[in-house]
Symmetry: C2
């Protein structure tokens, strides 16, 4: 089996090491898996270089989702030789599949809800906590309906690959519901952590004013997600229980819990606001739902990013 | 006539020099009035020190309005000997009169909409542009109705004093409408200038995303102001014309136009968010009007202030 992992950040490296074991290259320290080192079969600086003539069975896209900066589907062109290659999008956010559906309408696309808590340090060491599981589903449409997913060979094979690599494989009946569920929290807390003056998740969840604002913002997202996917986002939690669930989850994390969007901002890197905020806002507009809090935070955030990125050389 | 000016910042100094001429003390450079220096009859470090036995005819309060930090009416206790002393609140914002009404229910209160464009520099020099006018009215109630104001001796006297001092005196029929009108702009643009990553007024008015957000935020405030005061906020501008008016006004100012709230933030000083945002939000709640954008910005702003002020000694 040939797998190409695009994006050698913390998420990509963790998947690489679990799926293939060799020596040297990246070092990973994981609470769950211990210390690991690996060399991939090949390391390429671009997809063009990775186009070695062979056909890849799976291409796992583990880059940040930044469709506002460049069309992410374009980048894969040199390595997708036929419609047999399965494109696996290991990225959070809403509408991430759109550019790939447009450019590769015949290829199977697997879309994921990501739970790796990895963080890559400057020396190439990847710190990894306890979480290594992947929830995913075959992407059919925005409603995400994926009934009887194991009848589909693509999903069964991928499930076996993950499982034999020691990764917890989760195949929900509706992957889009799970992605929206995660995005409820992400869309509320991530921009707030930046524009409230660089606060940790715990700060925002503890402070009464921002906690109340978080809850209201999550309610906006829940309404859009439920309408977009045609029903409740979670099997066990009702819409009214979801905000409290995420507040308690946030309070349970070790502090300071720095959201990855804030990490990007502090590192003067582009933030994933397009798939976390803009696509859901556009979906809300299409559905006629008002999301004033999310929209306000989005506009403030991109204005803040404008100044933040202009203070360094573009990369 | 004995006047006490509380607060020797840029606003207080400008009024002092216009109302009284002596030599030495403060230096003022004004495009409208040229260079001035003056020594007040007395300079006191507190109202307690200013309590010299004499009764003041007017007390002009030119401090920042920070009722969230301390009760501003308490500070005047040593200098208010009777209900004859007129309290003049030379401060922008909504609900600034409440603490004074509560503590001095029998004293006449004049409340103002301030247009001084003064800025005090570290060396005591006050830079003043072309604007020196005061719009004011006798404060009766929150509706601000002040019909036939010149029949009231307090207003007539104050008008004469200002006019003889070369200050343009404006007595609108409803001072609260004018204060709300000014606050429409202030509530929208001031917090945004801080939490969008420290942008100038022109930046926010030019950038399409924030311009559109400014307009929506102003519409929220217009609705609250109109409901609170019982009708249109402006004689000539309709509700739908007000946002464009302020956008164009902002674009007409020399850049970089740094809002005073952003100046305070950059100087790590408390911001006037209580009278510019919180009091209008509370008023909106009382009236059953949703102001999600203003509320979102308020919560983000006070969270940002928390971190900003905690990084210095309290003063």
């Amino acid at each position: 089996m040939h797998t190409l992992i695009v994006g050698a950040g913390s998420v990509g490296s963790m998947y690489q090491i679990m799926l293939q074991s060799k020596k040297n290259g990246f070092s990973i320290e994981s609470l769950r898996y211990g210390k690991h080192k690996f060399i991939p079969d090949g390391v390429y600086s671009s997809c063009k270089d990775a186009s070695t003539g062979q056909e890849y069975d799976y291409i796992m896209v583990c880059t940040k989702a930044l469709p506002n900066i460049a069309d992410p589907a374009e980048i894969l062109k040199p390595v997708i030789k036929s419609n047999k290659t399965v494109i696996v999008l290991v990225q959070n956010g809403i509408g991430i599949e759109d550019p790939y559906v447009k450019t590769y309408p015949e290829n199977p696309i697997i879309t994921c809800a990501v739970y790796v808590d990895g963080k890559q340090k400057p020396n190439g060491l990847v710190e990894h906590g306890k979480l290594m599981e992947l929830a995913y589903g075959l992407h059919k449409n925005k409603k995400g309906d994926n009934s009887d997913p194991f009848k589909n060979g693509v999903i069964s094979n991928f499930h076996n690959i993950l499982t034999s690599g020691g990764i917890t494989s989760i195949v929900p009946t509706n992957i889009q519901k799970l992605k929206w569920f995660k995005n409820v929290w992400n869309a509320a807390i991530s921009p707030m952590s930046v524009i409230s003056g660089k606060h940790s998740g715990g700060d925002l969840a503890r402070n009464p004013g921002t906690r109340s604002l978080l809850i209201k913002a999550m309610k906006e997202m829940i309404k859009v997600g439920e309408t977009a996917t045609g029903g409740p986002l979670h099997d066990k939690l009702s819409a009214s229980e979801i905000p409290d669930y995420f507040i308690n989850y946030t309070l349970s994390l070790p502090e300071p819990f720095i959201l990855s969007m804030l990490q990007d901002y502090l590192n003067k890197k582009p933030m994933e606001h397009h798939v976390i905020l803009k696509n859901p806002i556009d979906e809300a507009k299409k559905l006629g739902i008002d999301v004033p809090i999310i929209e306000t935070m989005y506009e403030l955030l991109i204005m803040a990013e404008k100044k933040n990125l202009s203070s360094i050389d573009k990369h």
